[in-house]
Amino acid sequence: MNLYEHTIIAKQDVSASDIKKLTEKYSKIVEKNDGNIVKTENWGLLKLSYTIKKNKKGNYIHFKIKGASKIIGQLEKDEKIDEKLLRYMTVKVKKFDLQTNYFSKQEDGVEIDNKKTAKKL
């Protein structure tokens, strides 16, 4: 069993209900192959730093998956064909960091506080 972090970027004009369908679609694939989704994060509509296929913004969805390596093969096979997606990326990690959220607005304040304390030290 391995731990994976999997992110996909959907196009900017995809509706909110379609994003839910996308997350359900790919989480079903994981469950079919005896995988386990530890956490799903929706980072929301973020500005891309460069345009991808004439898109300036993108919807980011982030999965934390526990399972065998064949799951990733199945996922990426489907994502290659998917027209609603711009990019996908998987990273194999040794440990999940479930505490820090880098893309939610509430956590921004906490991050700044951490930096302040770091400077003092």
């Binding site: 990019r87 990273v91 960091d97």
Partner: protein, 90 residues
């Protein structure tokens, strides 16, 4: 006070001549690596605020001789910057 007056001529001339081996080296100019140590931030491709500090205005990765990052952490940094680039975060 008395000791200072007695001290030889070399001591009076400059501040650095008074330094001995047993004093704490306050005057060394080497900075420590900002990413290693106990209270260091985590290097990760999602931590964009941190990664942006180590990237030039044109988006190039800054060399470690400027930022004083250790070898091990520089390798981590460059990997995570490249991952963030792929996701169009940087």
């Amino acid at each position: 006070m008395v000791k200072k007056k007695i001290g030889n001529k070399k001591n009076r001339k400059s501040n650095f001549a008074r330094l001995s081996i047993f004093q704490p080296n306050k005057y060394s100019f080497k900075r420590k690596c900002p990413l290693s140590g106990k209270s260091a931030p985590i290097v990760d491709y999602k931590n964009i605020k941190l990664l942006k500090k180590y990237v030039s205005e044109n988006g190039k990765i800054l060399p470690s001789r400027i930022t004083n990052v250790s070898q091990k952490k520089q390798r981590e940094l460059s990997l995570s910057i490249k991952r963030a680039r792929n996701l169009a975060l940087i």
